[in-house]
Each structure stands twice: as structure tokens, then as C-alpha cells.
């Protein structure tokens, strides 16, 4: 292998630096109409649309549509999953019917010659609103007197489950030390820099729907569009061109996107909808709204005995379709304490409906919550024992020799390298020197903190994850390769590219598997018309699953090419090899790939009878074991707090990760650093806030704060490479681990700094106000 593992830049970014990308909104359709939505201004209200005449009469308006207009061409949907049996999630529609259950829920749409006119007209739609009591506060949503999030519900509890193993009561009875805390996580959201958007066209003559959309998984959406709009699956084409950020936000079924497709079907004209930033912040999925009460039992020797956890998770008005928002809560509980050895666990999850936009899977689903909770408890225990937090962790981390490890929750972890990662982290930090520097700075009055987080991430989910739950999400992938007459290889992958660079990694895999340079492999993805059905981009699966498909396809094409060459050269295929684009034997080059492909393509008569070279091959990969793969790592964060302003400055950040085989370290490190900064944002800045009446307060990027270049630290990244033994390449997944660990590391660093002043915080994001209150400088 000469290209796998090389830090090659992603070839496709040459287009993007030149401004020659092709994002969803960069292409127009002739005769297209622009959609704008009238969205509920109330978190909960009954409504009746009493007049559309004024809106329709506005020059440039082509149609004003309500639920009743779309109903003949668009089915409602309801989230159901075997992973959350009995879950209550009401029926959802492209446009709401009679009752709006979150602020921003679309209730009508206007199609017009320009977006500006469509927006003007939306304001002229006459609506009789009947405001209903709303529940937005997570802590109050389960109170007996809480108003129901939907009329007719008797409780806002959508689903509850208990995840347990071992004797938890015995563990706490035997404990020499019990630490506990309540951590509160405020909603945040993905904020892809490119907002969601869709251009839909329906051809009534061929009954075919073509949808150009900024989305992570074209095939998943194809299936849902076919079902909801009553179009045959094969006649739905979904094209996901360059995607300006995904992070999980662009993998759900959104009412406005479905309404746009339905309108295109209804009118027989192209319809475009691009969310503006305000409606993106209001209507994109939010994530990670939790209140977690957690206790940890520790024995006299400082060994963790067990965790007892209560998690209340906000779902919003619906459990997101199709994957269900409850996944985040389950993932939070599963990841909590996963790096450690313990014998008992009890986790109770209560997933709660609220009058807010639905939450959904967002980068590193649930892990940042579970990891922050466990790592906070670990620091509390170390402090109570008066020992170094790394020593406490070292004692409790599951050792390499104990793998595979199945914890009391039944979570299986294999081939993890906690001890190696910890050792590498300590070397990176030069801990004695760093501790001395911190002591010096503290002596000079500076408020400095160092925090750690140890992580396990469950990732690269296989067929059992959603398949057994009856959710139509593909966890398998296929790569199709063709040897072109030029000797170049075209590849079409069901894995999709959303900027993470997977297609570059796959090109390197194909290059090694087949025998050409990566720049001779042209990757295509993101189009249901040209790629076979597969999973797309989710759960850091591109390398672990897509990579195996790419390898298999490359080896198949190699075998075909060698067989054809052997037939032409009248030798045994075993005596031939492919190297650098040429077919060689022990004596040297015999022919180029272009010569072979030209012969097969244009002069087939030169081949011996019975030889039918397959210059297009496909390889499908499904993992047959391990529901999820596990990766592990360590993060450390150094922060400074300004005790006068409460402002927290991240000074340095370190990551040691083990994502299995690195296909491309340049791109992996990009994922790690970008993920860490997203996690720092979640820890310090990002919040979807609502006032006490349920009005959304974070509708601009001046209100929803993202990390900026000037306030982010340099991040040191190192790797331990433990290949997954269950696959050819051994890649596991790297896209989300940075986000998984950063909030916990930052929270611990902040609390390490505050501990010097006898203070602590327990709510994310940690705001300057919270710091000042903790320090007693604000009431």
C-alpha cells in the first residue's frame, strides 16, 4: 500500500478554493418558482387560515398553498422505531393542520416569481390564531400541571426506558465514596454555513421527481420522498451536490423540504426553497437538551463501582423522522463512563415532548452529554480522594488486556487503547512542566484550569442499529468502478461527501487496491441516479464501511483487468500485476491500462473466444459483526478565566485519538480539530434560548454565538493506531470524536480553575454570567 495513510489534500477542494463549487443554490431551473413559508409565531396555537386572497393577488404570486392543498399529493408521517417501543410522537405534516406545536412550524407556503415577493405575500395570509398554553421548559415539562405539548396528550412523556446491569444498590451500599452532580445542557444546533435548501422538479409525463438538495444521504431521502409523495422510488432522483456542511443536521425529513417537493408535484413547475439564517436557526433540528442527575459509587481503593443516572431529554414537538430523537438519549447513557471498568449501572431516560423545534442527531449524537457527565464525576471523585485526576482515570480505564470488554449495559468494546492514549497524552502535555507553569500563573493571580476527558465513541453503525428497529436507514454501502478507455478509473460511491473528505480517502483506497495513482480515480457520489443505494454520510462511517466497499471493488476490477491482460498477452494472470497505471510482469511493463481498455472497448475481436472482461464492477459491503465499532481517545484543555468579566479563554487543547487505521491523516486531523472547536462552541457559546413564553431568542448569528478564529486555541493532535481486526483496512471512524470529548474537557478545565476559588459550574454552555455568579460576583 502506497497511498493509504498518506496525508494527501482532497482533490475536489481545488474547485472549492476557486469558487467553482456547485452547491444546491448555485443552479437554477428554467421557470422555477421561489417558496416562502408562513411559520407559526407561537410555540403552541390552534389556527384557521381565513384568507389567502390578498396574498394571491400580490403581483408575482403564483400560488398560496395550505395543508388541504398538499394533502392530495403528500402523506403525513409519524416517527416509529423498534428502538423506542411505545414512543408517543404525533403525526407530522408538510404544512401543519389546525394546530401549530412549535414556533417556526410551517402552516402555509407561497410560490412566487421571487423569494422577496413570496415573503411579502406570506405576510398577507390571514390567520385566526388561538394561542394555547405552551411547554418549553424541560424541567417543568413532566410536572403534573404542565400543559400538553399537543392537544389531547395526557402527558408530555414521549418515552422512557431503563438501561441497567449489575447490582446497582449493592454497588452504592458498598461505596466508600459517592459523588454526584446535576448537569444541565442547553440546546445547541449544527449551524451549517450553507443553510438547508432544495430545488424540486416534477415531470408529470414521466411521473418523475428530481430533487437537488443540500442533504447527507440521498438514498434515505429518495425512499421517504417516494413514500410520502406516492412516486415510485426509481422515479425519484435525489442529487446532493457540494454540501456546505452537514454535521447531522441535514439527515432528517423536514416539513418545508417535503412541502417544496409536494408543491413542485402539484404545480408541475420547478420550486426552490432556501432557508434564510433566521428560519434555519428556528427550524433546523436542535440537539442536546438534557438535565442529567448522576451519581457514581467508588470503593476505598478508588475504583469505580457503578453509575446511577437520571436523564431528562427534550425532544421538541416531535421525535424526529425517521431516526427518532430518542437515539440521542440512549447514546448519552451508553457513552457515559464507557472507558471505565465498573460492575453496575442504572440509567433512566425520560424523553419529553415540548413546544420547540424537534431535536435530532447532531455530530457525535449523545456522546458529548454522557462523556461530560462521567468526566465531571470522575474529577469530583479524584478531588474528594485528593488525588491527581489522571491517576484516578488510569486506575479505572479498561486495560488493553481486558478487551473485548462488555460493560454492565451490554456495550461491547474491542481493541481500544486507553492506556496507550493516556501515556501519549502525558508525553504531549509534558505534564510536570505544564503543572509548574500553571502553579506559577496561579501564584501571579491568574485563574487557570486544566481539564481532561476520556472517551469511547460508538460509531460506524452497522445494519443492526436501525435495521432491527424497522427504520429504513441503510448501513451498507457499494462502490462501482469502471476502467475508462483512457486508463482512468471512475468510481461511484453510495457514501456521500459533505466536506469531510471521505471521497479522497476512498480514492486512495481504490488506488492501492487496483494499482493506479489516486489522481487517476475520479470519485462520484451524492446522486441516486448514478450511485447504488447506500447509507451516505452519518456516524463516521465513510472510511470504515465505504472504505471496505472501495477496497473490494478495486480488487475485483484488478482481477478482471489482469484476466483480460493475461488473455491478450497469452500468459497466466498470476504472473501479472498492476502498478502505476501499467500492467507489468517480472520483466517490466507489458501494456498500459489505456491500451488494455482501448482494446476491450474498441477492438473486442482481438480477445480470445469466451473472454468477456468486466471493466465495470461493483462491490457491496455489509459488516457482519459488531453493531457499532468503538473508538477511543483522550482530550485535555487548558483555559483561563477572567474573574472580573467571567470570560473564558481556551488557551490550548490536546487530543490523542485512536480511530483505527488512518486512511489520510491530513483529513483525519481536520475532522478532529473541527470537531473539537464545535465541542468548544457547545461548551462555551452556543445556545438555542427561549424566553419564558416560548419565544425563540437565538434567531441570528449575533444571538447564536459560534466560535471565531480569534478565540480558538491551536489544537495538538496525536494518534494511536489500533486497526479494527474485523475488516480488511481496519478503519473505524474519525468524524465525531473531537466533538464527543471537547465539552467534557472544557467543563473540567473551567471547574479546575474555579476550584481555586471554591466555586463550580454545572451548566453548558458556561457563560460569563454563570462564572460571575459562581464566583459570587453577581447575584
Amino acid at each position: 500500500m502506497t497511498h493509504i495513510g498518506q496525508p494527501l489534500p482532497r482533490a475536489a477542494t481545488l474547485r472549492l478554493v476557486a469558487g467553482r463549487g456547485s452547491y444546491m443554490d448555485d443552479v437554477s431551473a428554467r421557470g422555477e418558482l421561489h417558496a416562502a413559508f408562513l411559520r407559526s409565531p407561537y410555540p403552541h396555537a390552534g389556527f384557521r387560515i381565513t384568507g389567502t386572497a390578498a396574498a394571491s393577488a400580490l403581483p408575482g404570486v403564483v400560488a398560496v398553498l395550505t395543508e388541504a392543498d398538499l394533502a392530495p399529493v403528500c402523506q403525513p408521517w409519524q416517527t416509529r422505531t423498534g428502538s423506542a417501543p411505545g414512543m408517543v410522537s404525533p403525526t407530522q405534516r408538510a404544512l401543519a393542520k389546525d394546530e401549530a406545536c412549535y414556533q417556526g412550524e410551517p402552516i402555509a407556503m407561497v410560490l412566487a416569481l421571487s423569494r422577496a415577493v413570496a415573503e411579502d405575500a406570506a405576510e398577507l395570509i390571514e390567520v385566526e390564531w388561538q394561542e394555547l398554553p405552551a411547554i418549553t421548559n424541560l424541567a417543568a415539562a413532566l410536572d403534573a400541571d404542565a400543559p400538553p405539548a399537543h392537544q389531547g396528550l395526557t402527558s408530555n412523556l414521549a418515552w422512557t426506558t431503563e438501561m441497567k446491569g449489575g447490582d446497582i444498590d449493592a454497588a452504592f451500599a458498598a461505596a466508600a465514596l459517592v459523588v454526584e452532580d446535576r448537569l444541565t445542557f442547553t440546546r445547541s444546533t449544527g449551524v451549517t454555513l450553507e443553510p438547508r435548501g432544495v430545488l424540486a422538479q416534477y415531470n408529470p409525463a414521466s411521473q418523475a421527481l428530481e430533487v437537488r438538495i443540500s442533504h447527507q444521504m440521498p438514498h434515505q431521502l429518495q425512499r421517504h420522498l417516494a413514500d410520502l409523495l406516492g412516486v415510485s422510488l426509481a422515479r425519484v432522483r435525489v442529487i446532493c451536490p457540494d454540501v456546505g456542511g452537514g454535521f447531522g443536521l441535514k439527515m432528517h425529513v423536514y416539513p418545508d423540504e417535503i412541502a417544496t417537493c409536494a408543491a413542485a408535484r402539484l404545480l408541475g413547475r420547478p420550486v426552490r426553497f432556501v432557508a434564510d439564517r433566521a428560519e434555519a436557526l428556528l427550524s433546523d433540528i436542535h440537539a442536546r437538551e438534557h438535565i442529567v442527575d448522576a451519581r457514581m459509587a467508588v470503593d476505598a481503593g478508588g475504583r469505580i463501582l457503578g453509575f446511577d443516572v437520571q436523564d431528562v431529554q427534550g425532544l421538541g414537538a416531535y421525535s424526529i423522522f425517521p431516526r427518532s430523537s430518542t437515539t440521542e438519549g440512549v447514546s448519552a447513557l451508553r457513552s457515559l463512563g464507557a472507558p471505565y471498568r465498573f460492575s453496575a449501572y442504572r440509567g433512566r431516560l425520560r424523553s419529553v415532548l415540548q413546544n420547540k423545534v424537534p431535536t435530532g442527531q447532531y455530530r457525535s449524537v449523545g456522546h458529548p452529554v454522557g462523556i461530560a457527565v462521567a468526566e465531571r464525576l470522575v474529577d469530583l471523585a479524584a478531588a474528594a480522594r485528593g488525588e491527581d485526576p489522571l491517576e484516578f482515570r488510569r486506575r479505572n480505564l479498561v486495560a488493553e488486556a481486558e478487551m473485548p470488554w462488555v460493560n454492565p449495559l451490554g456495550a461491547r468494546m474491542a481493541e481500544l487503547s486507553h492506556q496507550q492514549c493516556l501515556a501519549k497524552l502525558e508525553a504531549l502535555l509534558d505534564l510536570p512542566t505544564l503543572r509548574a507553569e500553571i502553579a506559577t500563573l496561579r501564584a501571579a493571580g491568574r485563574c487557570i484550569g486544566l481539564g481532561f476527558a476520556s472517551i469511547v465513541e460508538f460509531t460506524a453503525t452497522g445494519p443492526e442499529g436501525y435495521g432491527r428497529a424497522g427504520v429504513l436507514v441503510a448501513a451498507v454501502d457499494t462502490v462501482v468502478l469502471s476502467l475508462e478507455p483512457s486508463g482512468e478509473v471512475t468510481a461511484r460511491a453510495s457514501i456521500s461527501e459533505i466536506g469531510q473528505g471521505t471521497t479522497q480517502g476512498l480514492a486512495q483506497v481504490v488506488a492501492d487496491a487496483f494499482g493506479v495513482a489516486p489522481d487517476q480515480v475520479l470519485m462520484g457520489s451524492g446522486d441516486t441516479a448514478t450511485t447504488p443505494h447506500g447509507g451516505g454520510a452519518w456516524a463516521s462511517r465513510g472510511a470504515a464501511i465505504g472504505g471496505e466497499a472501495a477496497w473490494g471493488a478495486g480488487r475485483k476490477l484488478r482481477a478482471e483487468v489482469l484476466a483480460a491482460a493475461a488473455a491478450l498477452l497469452q500468459c497466466a494472470p498470476e504472473t501479472l500485476d498492476i502498478s502505476d497505471g501499467r500492467i507489468i510482469d517480472a520483466s517490466g511493463p507489458r501494456m498500459t491500462l489505456a491500451e488494455l481498455a482501448e482494446t476491450v472497448t474498441f477492438r473486442g475481436y482481438e480477445l480470445p473466444a469466451g473472454v468477456q472482461p468486466q471493466l465495470t464492477v461493483a462491490h457491496h459491503y455489509r459488516r457482519e459483526q459488531d453493531t457499532a465499532l468503538t473508538t477511543n481517545g483522550f482530550q485535555a484543555s487548558l483555559v483561563e478565566i477572567d474573574a472580573d468579566t467571567g470570560i473564558i479563554t481556551p488557551l490550548r487543547h490536546w487530543v490523542v485519538g485512536d480511530c483505527g487505521r488512518l486512511l489520510n491523516p491530513l483529513l483525519v486531523e481536520g475532522q478532529v480539530r473541527g470537531g473539537v472547536v464545535q465541542g468548544i462552541g457547545e461548551a462555551l457559546f452556543e445556545a438555542c434560548r427561549y424566553d419564558e413564553t416560548g419565544q425563540f431568542l437565538s434567531g441570528t448569528l449575533a444571538d447564536y454565538l459560534l466560535p471565531m478564529a480569534g478565540e480558538m486555541p491551536d489544537i495538538t493532535v496525536a494518534h494511536v493506531e489500533t486497526p479494527y481486526s474485523g475488516s480488511v483496512l481496519g478503519a473505524k471512524g474519525a468524524g465525531e470524536a473531537g466533538t464527543a470529548g471537547a465539552p467534557g474537557a472544557i467543563l473540567n478545565a473551567v471547574n479546575d480553575a474555579l476550584a481555586q476559588h471554591g466555586a463550580a459550574v454545572s451548566e453548558l454552555p458556561v457563560t460569563p454570567g454563570a462564572i460571575l455568579r459562581a464566583l459570587g460576583r453577581l447575584p
Binding site: 477542494t13 478554493v17 463549487g21 449575533a702 471565531m708
Partner: protein
């Protein structure tokens, strides 16, 4: 297409060296006009309220927010977008962004590169902190910024002024 009562005004300007005379709706932003009417889609629309910097274009040599300027305000102006920016600094930055993987989704990249070019033109030898400060009006959600800073520093290191 425009509705019959949409107010418009005539403007004359140059875009990437091409002289243009046209009618534009009064309320159309410069970036929307460049993207949808002129057909230059390299500048992107990320927030439409002047925070994210994805819409950066050059107007009379200065980098501006294309979403905070109306197309009618560009009457008489010389406009340059990422597609037309062929100055050595921009080209060097494009190459460095590619080599350092200073982009992932690429949506912020054209605006980021124009901003970085303006920085290096004014200060060929910035510190890392100065680069971070200068780029703080351009959001990147993918990279964590570090490779962007690396790319700008690499271009700075190769500039003649630095070597002198």
C-alpha cells in the same frame, strides 16, 4: 423573473473586468445579484445579516459584505469576485488552502481567502494571533480555523517582503 411592479434602477459597473449595464431590483443585495443575475456563484450566502463573511466580494479593491450592500449601490463600482480574483496573493492563498486542507465543505472559503488576501496585502508578516483576529469576521464551521491560519502563515512566509 420579476413581478411587474418590482421597483428597479439602472446601474453601470464592471464585474471581474467585464463592463455591465443593467436594471436591478432596488431591494436585491449585491451578492444575490452577482449569484442569480450575473451567474457568479463563488460568493455564498450564509447569514444575510453581515456576520458570517461567506458573501465577501471586492468593491473598488476593498473587501465588503455582499449581503450588506445593495446591488444599486454598486453603480459605477469595480467589482471582483473569487472567480475573477487573479492577483498573486489570492492565487497563493488558494494553493495554500488546498495543500493545508484549510477547508472542508468550502462554503466559507472564497470569503475567507479574499479576507486573508486583504490582510496580507496590508501586513505581509502577521503573527498567528493577528491572522486569527483578521479572520474573526469570517465563520468556518468545519476546520476549527487552525489549518486556515497555517495556510495564511505559509503564504506569508513565502512572500518577498518577508524574505527581504
Amino acid at each position: 423573473m420579476l413581478p411587474p411592479d418590482e421597483p428597479t434602477a439602472g446601474i453601470t459597473c464592471s464585474v471581474n473586468g467585464q463592463d455591465i449595464r443593467t436594471q436591478v431590483p432596488l431591494r436585491r443585495s449585491l451578492v444575490d445579484w452577482l449569484r442569480h443575475d450575473v451567474g457568479l456563484t463563488g460568493s455564498h450566502v450564509g447569514c444575510e445579516h453581515g456576520v458570517c463573511g461567506a458573501c465577501h466580494v471586492r468593491v473598488d479593491g476593498q473587501v465588503v459584505r455582499g449581503c450588506l450592500m445593495l446591488a444599486v449601490q454598486a453603480d459605477g463600482a469595480r467589482i471582483e469576485t473569487i472567480e475573477g480574483a487573479a492577483d498573486p496573493l489570492t492565487l497563493a492563498l488558494q494553493d495554500a488552502f488546498f495543500r493545508h486542507a484549510a477547508l472542508q465543505c468550502g462554503f466559507c472559503t472564497p470569503g475567507m481567502i479574499l479576507q486573508a488576501a486583504e490582510l496580507l496585502a496590508a501586513n505581509p508578516t502577521p503573527s498567528r494571533a493577528e491572522v486569527r483576529e483578521a479572520l474573526s469576521g469570517n465563520y468556518c464551521r468545519c476546520t476549527g480555523y487552525q489549518p486556515i491560519v497555517d495556510a495564511v502563515m505559509a503564504v506569508s512566509a513565502d512572500m518577498p517582503a518577508r524574505q527581504a
